[in-house]
């Protein structure tokens, strides 16, 4: 296994598609130019055809070269990748530094049974490693090699080692799966339109142009429709309202489609210490997370979720974005729209000691409301009222009062959602506005803490404390200064005295 080897020749297809997408993405800016010089382009069909053929053959050549220079080698404890045509890169990645192993099968690989092995690292984007186009079985085998190496080298005591060996005989155990109905619910309660948009992005402008063209050809003139004479006001209102409802329905429909594309056939399984998520309609995504890599659990509910009692349960690992990498929904472990019981079961399965759902959350100081209402909302609205009074438009003043009351009640809702607490192992934070999100992370996984205090807070002996984990940073605002320091010093004591690894 430790000889330099090329990937399957099908890899050129991967490079070709990738380069083509890159060009198409960048060519979006050219569309207006092409559009305006349409006639001229049509005048020289041969040249255009030759140009397109030239670009395509150049792409093919580049793709072939990229394939030709792409080599990898697997050693006992590391993987090396040579890549690049002009700018060569040599990557040497020890297995222990690999955070996450993903198998990605794009549409164009699937008929051939190939997949791309993506290796996430804790470092920056530079260290990212992909082995494109390996046969499915080989990829599974490589993944198993890496994971088993990690397992045997991170088990610290012999007892743990033996335990993991006996455990590895276990089969994958199914923890959760999502039905089509769940995905429809997920699409409705969560805006997943962007998944759909991401697929369409390269063609977005053409689509918009076409829609306008179609509208015009059907004789629909938006200006005439809305602002033309002879329409009474109620008709106009009806138009606007029905347009908004229509737009909303379309967005929701797209969101449902997006949700199904992303999560079709969702399965969360457990094998030994690894949690494995598989999903996807067009391309299958597989995310593997070692339990020890888990940094943060988020129990997330939008306002619609609160109404229909569904939860998005997120298991956060190292934050890819803050490490300069492409993250996105698909590299994350999230169980979409689970029921309350399923949620409790999953949390219990992953972190049995966590009291995320049962602990009493302490409120933050009421001055939180005074700050937003007193310092921002009231002065702003007084200013607007003053402006209207000055211009003698008294009829508008009640409207301003309503807006002020509405915004103040939102601040109240936000304050009411804020909550925090801790126990021996975990810190808990609750926040939200209309929805509610619960965060829970082990105190031992804290990377850094911060204490913040403005002049105003100092006067009232209040402070904000921030806990930074590898997944994200969480702040508890407006708590008593002594309590804040107590939280910080106790957390630090725990991290520094127990000296546990965070990965």
């Amino acid at each position: 296994m430790n000889k330099w080897q090329r990937v399957s020749s099908i890899a050129w297809l991967h490079f070709f598609v990738k380069n083509l997408m890159l060009i198409v993405n960048n060519a979006i800016y050219l569309i207006p130019i092409i559009f305006t010089s349409y006639d001229k382009i049509l005048a020289y069909p041969l040249w255009v055809a030759a140009g397109v053929a030239g670009i395509l053959s150049l792409l093919l050549l580049v793709a072939f070269l990229q394939y030709y220079f792409f080599k990898y080698r697997l050693n006992d404890q590391n993987i090396e990748i040579h890549a690049g045509v002009i700018f060569k890169t040599h990557l040497d990645l020890p297995f222990t530094r690999i955070q996450n192993v993903k198998l990605i099968s794009p549409v164009y690989f699937r008929p051939f049974g190939y997949t791309t092995l993506e290796l996430d690292t804790a470092g920056s984007a530079k260290n990212e490693a992909n082995i494109v186009a390996v046969a499915r079985e080989l990829a599974e085998q490589l993944k198993a090699t890496i994971l088993s190496y990690q397992q045997s080298h991170q088990a610290e005591t012999e007892a743990e080692l033996m335990q993991s060996e006996t455990e590895s005989l276990e089969q994958e155990q199914l923890l959760n799966q999502r039905s089509l109905k769940d995905l429809v619910i997920h699409g409705i309660t969560n805006n997943r339109v962007w998944i759909f948009l991401a697929i369409l992005a390269p063609m977005a402008e053409t689509i918009i142009d076409n829609v306008i063209d179609v509208g015009l050809s059907l004789g629909i003139d938006l200006e005439e429709l809305f602002f033309g004479p002879g329409h009474p006001w109620w008709e106009l209102t009806l138009y606007v309202v029905s347009t908004i409802i229509l737009a909303y329905i379309i967005v929701m429909l797209l969101s449902v489609i997006g949700s199904i594309i992303a999560f079709y056939g969702y399965k969360l399984t457990r094998k030994d210490e690894n949690y494995i998520q598989r999903s996807g309609l067009l391309s299958h995504h597989e995310v593997v997370m070692k339990l020890s890599r888990l940094q943060l659990i988020i129990r997330q509910q939008d306002w619609l979720d609160v109404l229909i009692k569904r939860i998005n349960l997120k298991f956060e690992q190292l934050n890819m974005i803050s490490h300069g990498k492409q993250g996105g929904l698909r590299s994350k472990l999230m169980v979409p729209s689970v029921t309350l019981e399923e949620c409790s079961e999953l949390i219990n399965e992953v972190w049995p000691l966590s009291k995320l759902e049962t602990i009493d959350y302490k409120p933050i100081n009421k001055r939180f409301m005074f700050k937003y209402i007193g310092v921002i909302i009231v002065p702003f609205h007084l200013l607007v009222i003053g402006f209207f009074a000055f211009n003698e438009q008294y009829a508008l003043i009640p409207l301003v009062l309503v807006s002020g009351a509405l915004m103040s009640s939102l601040v109240w809702a936000r304050w009411r959602r804020w909550g925090f607490n801790r126990d021996e192992n975990y810190l808990y934070i609750r926040k939200g506005l209309l929805g509610v999100d619960y965060y829970c992370f082990p105190i031992n996984k804290i990377q850094q803490v911060k204490f913040k205090q403005s002049v105003l807070l100092r006067r009232h002996q209040l402070c904000c404390v921030t806990f930074v984990t590898a997944a994200s940073s969480l702040t508890i605002p407006f708590i008593d200064q002594e309590l804040g320091w107590d939280y910080l010093s106790r957390s630090l004591y725990q991290v520094e005295s127990s000296k546990q690894n965070w990965m």
Binding site: Q154, A155, S292, Q448, K450, S454, T469, S489, R490, E496
Partner: protein, 180 residues
Amino acid sequence: MTTPLFSNQVIDSAQLAQYQHQQVTPLQPTHIKANVVLRLISTGIVLLLLAVARWQTISPFSAEAQENLSIALMVVAALALMLNIYGYFADKAKGYVLRESDISFYTGVFFKKVVIQPLLRLQHIELKRGPIERKLDLATIQVFSAGGALHTFELPGLYHQDALALRQFILAHKDVSAHE
């Protein structure tokens, strides 16, 4: 590693590290002085450019433009004054504390902020020196944690020797080496 089984002793918070009452080491006076001079020079250059534009006679602006320039000059001068005063006090307020198992960085005049980084959780540490710092024998230390780029912090205004010693201390720290 599995979720740890916990020892759960009672801890008296009065015995824990008192981060709020630490003796903070301020930045080197040389660094603060250099910053004052640099700020004066850079704001001075901006003011000078504006003043030259206002009173130059090579191709004079219209009277209206000259008036606008005068106003701009006054606004910029006021801002420059504030920047210089604030910058001085902001530098004065900065400081750090190195303890056995963590390093704290203090900043802020109006918004006090303390960042505390356990040495155990350090990913790596970098020494940075610009041309002026090299001239003045100063150095800046950059501290990286796995919290990501947003939570990287810098300790400026250390003597080069001190910075080297600090880095050596941190790298040689048993927690950091144990972590690797």
